[in-house]
Symmetry: C2
């Protein structure tokens, strides 16, 4: 058994029947040969399914929105990269020369993609049940204590709920300005609570980001201690 | 066996051990009692996983983008609603009075959601392998002949590929104007091919829609016969 297979056995509790699948899962598209793009596509879907099952059972009273936010927090790139890094994935990644030189083995998207690809490879190698076992084992430290639904809400959602709970009118978001050339545009959005006479402004590289920033600033204004 | 269970047996090839799961899967949130929102969340993920596996195996040469577009075409609400309608789901849906009166049993989102919820219910009732069998059976008419990758590309992608194949500079999209009040804003985006001195304008309720329209108009200009 080679070094990579030993690592997968000890950390994932799994031994590949088809060694080529594991090699492909660890190969970034910057390298030659079969890479992990397709396996990542598959592994992403398998992971979503297993995590959906976990949050569904663990939160019997949560509605669809709460389940979606909880799942999103567990499967987003930053979370995957953190797990992959803790597993020491960097030592086993296969990258092209350019990516290697620029530190690609520590880049979040590359580590996260390779981890998803490993899940996809286990699924192909031995089926859903095997991938399910591996994912639950790898995710155990995170699923042991799931975050609270309230913590996962974004600023716009929290602001809307706060305002509604008081029976006040909903915040109004308005795009105020777009500046810069195509692909580098900056958005400026205002958030107004007319009943309170309050107004904040947010900026971002997308309209969505600008709205979230404006909402976060409004939450600060309403409850500076929060 | 009641009428609904007989329908599921004949069309889905499945008999529920836990009849309550089937009832919940068919219950829209407008009705009283346990509804299908949570089951839809779960079924959506199970469906994505099974369809990912199908497209992965059936298109061994497709890249991640092609696989994603193919999967999206198979799991989007319109496709699900068409399948659900052909299965005669409307006769078995449980809706609140208001939804019933306004024709909710034929609404795409309601039919699609109930079908996904049935997949989720089968998964809970008997596990992944059972849901996998049911989904493959239900999807057989669509997966028998998968659409071509080229057909699934959006206008921006097709324009970019056309321009790149000729070695020309990429199209430049620029947000020209935003009009209207918050939540009802209209976006106007231009698409320019500098080398050709061509420019088109698209409008839409989102920036994305406006860009797609501008790209579609540019494709028309470049090849009016297409």
């Amino acid at each position: 058994m080679d070094k990579t297979a030993r690592w997968v056995k000890s950390r994932f509790g799994y031994t590949f029947a088809e060694a080529g699948l594991l090699a492909a899962a660890l190969t970034h598209r910057s390298a030659d040969g079969p890479n992990n793009e397709r396996l990542e596509f598959l592994g992403d879907a398998v992971l979503d399914c297993v995590i959906s099952d976990i949050v569904y059972r663990r939160r019997p009273a949560a509605n669809e929105g709460e389940l979606s936010r909880l799942r999103a927090s567990l499967v987003r790139d930053a979370t995957l990269a953190e797990i992959a890094d803790a597993l020491g994935i960097s030592d086993y990644l296969i990258l092209g020369t350019g990516e290697k030189k620029s530190g690609g083995h520590r880049r979040n998207s590359i580590m996260a993609g390779a981890l998803e690809a490993i899940f996809g490879a286990v699924y192909l190698d031995a089926g859903f049940a095997a991938a399910d076992r591996v994912i639950r084992r790898i995710y155990a430290p995170l699923t042991a204590e799931l975050p609270d639904s309230e913590e996962l809400k974004d600023a716009k959602t929290r602001l809307q709920e706060l305002v509604q709970s008081d029976g006040r009118a909903l915040p109004v978001y308005e795009l105020e300005k777009v500046s810069g050339k195509a692909h580098r545009q900056t958005f400026e959005v205002s958030c107004s609570l007319e009943a309170d006479g309050l107004r904040t402004v947010g900026r971002g590289l997308s309209r969505r980001d600008a709205e979230q920033q404006a909402a976060a600033r409004m939450l600060d204004k309403l409850d500076p201690g929060e």
